[in-house]
Amino acid sequence: MQATIVEAVNDALHTEMAADDDVVVFGEDVAESGGVFRATDELLEEFGADRVVDTPLSEIAIVGAATGLAMYGKRPVAEIQFSGFLPPAFDQLVTNASRIRWRTRGELTAPMVVRMPYGAGVRALEHHSESMEGAYAHIPGLKVVAPSTPHDTKGLLLASIRDPDPVLFMEPKRIYRSFREDVPEGDYEVPLGEAAVRREGEDVTVVSWGSMMPATLEAVEELDADAEVVDLRTISPLDTETVVESVKKTGRAVVVHEGPRSNGVGGDVVARINDEALMYLEAPVERVTGFDTPVPLLSMEDYYFPHPPRILDAIENALAV
């Protein structure tokens, strides 16, 4: 079927709820109204009020209870309505979800998913625009996934729900509905921890993920050189090998992400390239990122996240040396 990213989320939830009775979906406004983005549409009708639950407005309890449900053997899929409202629950991710396996030497685990739309550009209010994957990827024991296509969204979400460890599933809401592609019916997985090469090329490696992929692919089309584009798909644990192999081939690299530059995931990608492929580099690795500022309110948010000309400019810099 042809589906958008948000429809692929919905399809994955329908698929896994039908396959596994232990899957429980909950969060604010997910049941009766089907979610503010309709990601959980029709789940209540199909699977009933025991398994599809509108919760109180309580982010701490949503993430903490997901952890408890998972420890008890359920497969919780919790929704945080916007990623800007995860911070209150950061404590539960850091203190419990990410380390219950470690704390109990594997006796107890937290196979759970927290889904949340992230990123700027939908003309919403403050706290509806951030890309904080860098902060979340800094939590050992937590997996962080950010799909960029409908096909990957469904396959990655299915893999995330079945994963034995907690997964923060960051959905790129700016491109929730911006294109459709063929999404297989029924069951399939896209494995966590594996990047995808979106476009093969010889001259420069461009690494990106999630909400920045369409702009990145658009930018390389304008390029007078042959770029290889790597979509990380999973931010943590990060697929160093795919990135490094590509850079060894091209000798140049650019990382594109939406979140702030300092202490962002881009810095870590650069470090891994330096660790494993420094001698192959013909130019410093460029970063194209959001700024080290809060995301501006909607009147200026479009200046914040990288657009194709800004990405193109950095790629040309990397090629100019």
Binding site: E28, R123, E126, M300
Partner: protein, 387 residues
């Protein structure tokens, strides 16, 4: 308890005799304070001590609230705002409470915009806010007020502001407006307990408008009322009919007096959001037309008009002329907002720190240089589909 809510709120359930060893919900009787009943009747002794001008003032502010919401929804539909949350139905709840506040008080609101105007914030700055222009918030701050977008996040701030007032020996109160949904956040519970424990001049004003987006208030909590939550934190509370502007005014002014004495108070105002949660919401997905129609019958302006008529004050109110004046004020505000000059790129980078760190300075300069070298950037920014 007073039957003011047309829905079957669990607070209306009969008290059941339970096991006396257990404290139960029903051990508590929570009244809903009312001055003017739904039929417009009232006891003259209960009417707050306001003069004729103040009574008319309340009406004018309620109308301002209604007209402002209507105009904002309409310009949003024309694509002139990002989104907007209407307050229709909550006018008595919003105005009756805010009318008690003094300029030196601090105000942190949820769904309540007119209280900013009552403090002197120009209407155009509220339009700027909903257009995502940071100067709107700057203007609110100049009047000791802010809007909290992260639900519940402001309650601890209000506890701290109140603590500051206490430490400075200032005669003022810090007020948090919150919704029924906000009472479920961890931040709210910690803050209410904290303020109660420290005995700081904080006033928590909860507008129970029956919904947090799609979730009905009786699914938000197992508690019979929201007011009773404060008790567990050692704080006094009052529940009031939020469609009755005089009851709200009276309850909150009395609460404010207690708060000034270092006794924080929690007020639950029982009201209803008649419009959608925001312009992006479709309320037909979670509530019936019959329910909304029933609450339309509890229009707070209508009830207050009955009171003004009984008092002989209505003859001096030219309703249509007031509406025209408010419309004109809105037109002027919109025009001023439309003329707000396009801002410089530096606004993105300013105010992160008092002094811009070198790395941020570099990001700023690089970006300005890029916009200079690649004018097509601006096309991307301007042509990107909005919404």
């Amino acid at each position: 308890m007073t039957e003011n809510a047309p829905t079957d709120h669990p607070a209306n359930a009969a008290v059941s005799a339970g096991d006396p060893r257990f404290l139960t919900q029903d051990d508590l009787t929570v009244d809903t304070h009312q001055v003017v009943g739904p039929d417009g009747s009232y006891d003259a002794d209960d009417v707050p001590d306001l003069d004729a001008e103040q009574f008319r003032d309340l009406y004018r502010w309620m109308l301002t609230d209604r007209v402002f919401s209507r105009r904002m929804v309409s310009i949003q539909r024309r694509g002139e705002l990002g989104t907007f949350g209407s307050t229709r139905g909550q006018e008595a709840s919003i105005i009756g409470s805010a009318y008690t506040l003094q300029p030196e008080d601090w105000l942190y609101v949820g769904r309540a915009w007119t209280p900013m105007f009552m403090r002197g914030v120009p209407m155009e700055d509220m339009i700027l806010f909903w257009r995502g222009i940071e100067e709107g918030q700057q203007s609110f701050a100049e009047h000791n007020s802010q809007i909290a977008i992260s639900i519940g996040s402001h309650l601890p701030l209000v506890a701290g502001l109140a603590w500051g007032m206490d430490l400075s020996g200032d005669d003022a109160v810090a007020t948090a407006y919150l919704g029924d949904g906000a009472t479920s956040t961890g931040a709210a519970h910690e803050a209410i307990n904290f303020a109660g424990a420290l005995g700081v001049p904080a006033l928590f004003y909860c507008q129970n408008n029956q919904y947090a987006i799609s979730l009905a208030a009786d699914e938000q909590t197992g508690a019979n009322t929201l007011a009773q939550k404060a008790l567990a934190y050692g704080m006094d509370a009052i529940r009031v009919d939020g469609q009755d502007v005089l009851a709200v005014y009276e309850a909150v002014s009395e609460a404010r007096e207690r708060v000034r004495e270092g006794e924080p108070v929690f007020v639950e105002s029982v009201t209803y959001r008649l419009d959608a949660h925001t312009t992006s919401d479709d309320p037909t997905r979670y509530r019936s037309d019959e329910e909304v129609d029933a609450w339309e019958q509890h229009d707070p302006l209508e009830r207050y008009r009955e009171f003004l008529k009984s008092e002989g004050l209505w003859e001096d109110v030219d309703h249509d002329a007031i509406v025209d004046e408010i419309e004109a004020e809105f037109d002027a505000a919109l025009e001023a907002a439309n003329e707000f000059a396009e801002r410089e790129i530096v606004e993105i980078f300013a105010h992160v720190y008092e002094e811009m760190p070198p790395e941020l300075q570099r990001q700023y300069e690089e970006f300005v240089d890029l916009l200079d070298r690649r004018p097509e950037m601006c096309d991307f920014i301007e042509q990107r589909p909005k919404g």
